[in-house]
């Protein structure tokens, strides 16, 4: 052994643990590497970092992660890495010995040792039991079949993801918080989900009948089947699960059954060790069990007759525990809990007691059109419970009043309208609302962070959402308190806030990526629907979000979505480019930059007939006719159409031009028919709507006369084939393309072009050109999707061509034929002679 230099290296874990000979500190052994166990250690370190030597045993083979975030992992919104609370470095930096994947199997209180499954024996001075809960498995036939699981840890999530990959049907038994989050995740993963719930109301422990009903209809609207009042008789299957049979004889086929009917405190270890156990392990106010050297926190304990199944109480318990272990006894007084459902787009909140009863009064607000239901239960002028559905912004405020047992007699009449109204003013200023919260009001329920803690974190110099998330964890988990944290930033810093992931616009707290994901996940079909489901804060959005939503829906629902003209910028509505004097410029399409006498004659005629003051050759090899009045546009288009020309889309977030050089047909250097390929590509891609403008070019040899390497998609022909380049643009910040790959045939060049275009259409944010998009996601990612994944490329290409089958109508021809004439004409011209 080599501890001679007096340092105390972290002990290696072989059989038992090795302790540096000079470490005389008391040894704290923690059983359970979960949320409570690790939080207890964090609290202890914050008070007196050197006092105890710490060893943590964990049954799961992972570092400490945020269990409540398993739901977003299942839903595909987070990865495991993103929900880790303390990584390896944390254990190492704090000299904590982590023994993961090796559960403790016995405690010998006489010898003060614990023994683990692998046979390790470790002595302790203080023992902390934080074993959490075990999922309750209903004792029906078939409960042990492969494919029947619970929803408690990362392993369960892995099993569900594997099952979802196979597709098919899943049954979730239990319509509580956990069951509904499992059902939501599995639905998003593409499974057909049925929820079986014994009671008549979903989440009956948190919701009353009215809110439960609203929730049920919303979930059914998302394609889940919800069976309430349904009693499971058996799970059937031959060698693996095949379905669930109800008492009334109904059978529901399923390849996966998730039991989420409740949890039981994990007390076996404590019971065998002879500790006093009732429903949970009995503890006093300092979290000490019947043995003064054995402590316990988390879901496994029973305090004052109460057992908890949510995280908020753990934070209070861990504070009292750490106070006790560092001789500053404070004492735990029990917790009042509140609940939120973590299903995107469904806001459900409940707190306290809403069963009604003697002396209780209900204050109820329903707004059917907004899908809002609020109920506050008041007893003796104090709030004792609240149920909110659809609009939960005031949840924190009600909960704060409830916990502080505030007298609400004065504001009773306005209470139900929420904090902004009830605290006077009337104006709904969310900043004033958070400013008015008390310092110990809870902001982040997932991580137990109070307003006071967030404010001091900001005052310590963390001036952005990301910095706050990193330093005090507020809003770092489910994100439902992001709005509150942003408002606190604004209150503390005034206008100097550096915001984190940018929200789409001021009408929403969601980012572009969030909105896009939810549009697809919830199969939203119109702009008003998106705004309703995602709680837009304005009645009909603004000039930033409306065009973006219109595009996202158009891209998600080709052929189905009805374009909203009023959500398009003027150029796309008028199919021409507005100029600074309010007139328009018109650019007819010239395939690959080719033209002919007939087209040129038609253009010349239009210029003369409509007195266009200027014609110019554009950078994209087209002719631009300037100074056309909006009233004349349909007539101009009719004339151009007559000569066979269609809209050049020089005005749109769309394919602009395919620029070509003369190539092998004429040029002595040319290696391939660049002009011909350019024309084919333009015929394939024209008319497509994009997140931003999109330019293509094809050069016949590396001399690159068509400047293909500053285009969104560029082809440079070489002797042996075609080099494909992506992500370039001219403009203020010139960016040369990245080489995507080289292909051998013209057909492949076309296929890769279609696939790349579709990837950009589906994944870039609105108004993000290919250059910043590729810098954001990395060219390796693009290669992995387009070059390395043959099936994926083919699918993208097919989706592009499918979408194109609806978009290659010439908008000019429709307008020239009279469509939407009102856009070009004033209301009845009024001739009132000056008097």
């Amino acid at each position: 052994m080599e501890f001679q230099d007096g340092l105390a290296p972290a002990a290696e874990s072989h059989e038992d643990i090795l302790v540096p000979a000079d470490d005389l500190r008391e040894h704290l052994v923690v059983v359970g590497n979960g949320m409570a166990g690790c939080r207890a250690v964090e609290e202890l370190l914050a008070r007196d970092a050197g006092r105890y030597r710490v060893t943590i045993f964990g049954a799961e083979p992972y570092v400490n992660y945020n269990r409540i975030m398993l739901s977003p992992v299942l839903a595909g919104e987070k990865t495991f890495e993103q929900i880790v609370i303390n990584d390896r470095a944390w254990y190492d930096d704090n000299g904590i010995e982590l023994i993961a994947g090796d559960p403790v199997t016995g405690i010998d209180r006489g010898a003060k040792t614990v023994k683990s499954q692998s046979g390790r024996t470790v002595g302790y001075d203080k023992l902390l039991i934080a074993t959490g809960s075990d999922p309750f498995i209903i004792p029906v036939p078939g409960k042990d079949l492969p494919g029947v699981i619970s929803f408690r840890d990362m392993k369960d999530v892995d099993t569900m993801l594997a099952a979802a990959d196979q597709g098919g049907a899943a049954v979730v038994i239990g319509g509580g918080l956990l069951g509904l989050e499992a059902a939501h995740g599995l639905t998003l993963r593409g499974m057909k989900v049925t929820v079986i719930h014994l009671m008549d109301t979903l989440m009956e422990r948190q919701l009353d009948e009215a809110a439960g009903w609203l929730l049920k209809s919303a979930l059914e609207g998302r394609g889940q089947t919800i069976l309430t009042g349904a009693n499971t008789e058996a799970i059937y299957g031959d060698g693996k699960v095949e379905g669930v049979r109800l008492k009334d004889g109904r059978e529901i086929p399923a390849s996966l059954v998730v039991m989420a009917v409740g949890i039981r405190p994990a007390t076996a270890l404590a019971r065998e060790a002879g500790l006093e156990v009732n429903r949970g392990i009995k503890v006093d106010d300092h979290m000490v069990t019947s043995d003064p050297d054995v402590l316990s926190v988390g879901e496994c304990v029973e305090h004052d007759g109460n057992v908890y199944g949510l995280v908020a109480p753990l934070w209070d318990m861990c504070r009292s525990l750490a106070d006790g272990l560092t001789d500053q006894h404070s004492g735990y007084k029990g917790s009042v809990t509140s609940t939120k459902l973590k299903v995107a787009g469904l806001d459900v909140f409940s707190a306290g007691d809403f069963s009604g009863g003697e002396g209780c009064e209900d204050i109820v607000l329903r707004d059917a059109s907004r899908g809002v239901y609020k109920r506050v239960i008041v007893k003796d002028d104090r709030i004792v419970g609240a149920v909110l559905y659809g609009d939960t912004v005031d949840g924190g405020w009600y909960f704060d009043l409830l916990r502080r047992e505030e007298n609400v007699a004065d504001i009773r009449d306005l209470l139900i309208f929420g904090q902004a109204f009830a605290s006077g003013g009337g104006a709904l200023d969310p900043k004033a609302a958070v400013a008015a919260l008390s310092d110990d009001a809870e902001i982040c329920g997932c991580n137990g962070v109070s307003k006071g803690q967030v404010v001091s974190c900001i005052e310590a110099g963390n001036c952005s959402l990301d910095a706050v998330r990193a330093n005090c964890k507020a809003s770092a988990s489910c994100g439902s308190c992001t709005g509150l944290v942003e408002n606190l930033l604004a209150v503390v810093l005034g206008d100097d806030v550096k915001s984190g992931p940018k929200t789409m616009c001021k009408c929403t707290s969601f980012t572009h990526d969030d909105v896009r994901r939810e549009i697809v996940a919830q199969n939203m079909r119109s702009i008003p629907e998106v705004m309703q489901l995602l709680h837009w804060s304005t009645p009909d959005g603004c000039s930033s979000c409306r065009p973006a939503l219109n595009y996202y829906l158009l891209c998600a629902l080709p052929g189905d979505y009805v374009d909203d003209q009023q959500s398009r910028f003027v150029n796309e509505r008028m199919h021409a480019n507005i100029q600074k004097d309010g007139t328009y410029s018109v650019v007819p399409r010239m395939w690959g930059g080719l033209t002919n006498p007939r087209e040129l004659r038609a253009i010349a005629d239009v210029v003369e007939k409509f007195n266009a003051p200027m014609v110019k050759v554009t950078g994209g090899q087209r002719l631009d006719i300037f100074g056309i009045k909006k009233e004349d546009l349909p007539a101009v288009w009719a004339d151009l159409n007559a000569a066979g020309m269609v809209s050049g889309h020089a005005y749109g977030k769309s394919l602009r031009t395919v620029k070509t050089c003369v190539g092998s047909e004429w040029c002595r250097f040319g290696t391939q028919d660049s002009t011909g390929l350019g024309v084919k590509i333009e015929r394939m891609t024209w008319g497509s709507w994009m997140p931003h403008k999109f330019k293509i070019a094809v050069s016949g040899c590396p001399r690159n006369c068509a400047e293909a390497t500053i285009k969104d998609f560029g082809v440079v022909c070489v002797d042996s084939g075609y080099e494909l380049h992506v992500g370039g643009n001219g403009g203020i910040h010139v960016r040369a393309t990245d080489l995507l790959c080289k292909v051998a045939t013209e057909q492949e060049a076309m296929d890769y072009c279609a696939a790349f275009t579709q990837l950009y259409r589906e994944e870039a944010r609105y108004l993000e050109r290919t250059a910043p998009w590729i810098e954001r996601v990395g060219v390796d990612y693009i290669k992995s999707r387009i070059v390395e994944d043959d099936a994926g490329r083919e699918a993208l290409r097919a989706r592009f061509l499918y979408s194109q089958s609806f978009s290659q109508e010439d908008p000019w021809a429709e307008r020239a034929a009279g469509a939407q004439a009102e856009l070009h004409q004033p209301l009845a011209p009024i001739a009132i002679a000056a008097e």
Partner: protein, 111 residues
Amino acid sequence: MTDWIDIGTLADIPQRGARTVQIAGEKEIAVFRTGDDHVFALVNECPHKKGPLSQGIVHGHSVACPLHNWNIALKTGEAQGADEGCTPTIAVRMDGERILIARPVAMQAAA
């Protein structure tokens, strides 16, 4: 006494859209219909660089100018946010489905 001119019906203007009215000798007028079917009229010129407001995106009771995205309040004609400027408003009255605007007497007198 205000003199009112009938310029058409609500249905002539798309929701969240605008149409223009041309009166001989007057500046063009933009008549807006909002998402909640209120009707407003402004001179069709942005206070910034005279952008045609009738071509902007109408949201809430504002319009975003098509040229440089200033937001103009439909009720007052004032630029919102950090921008400053004001476009003249024209009084509007609804008579059932029909839209009436005030005859611009003042302008004529000034002319």
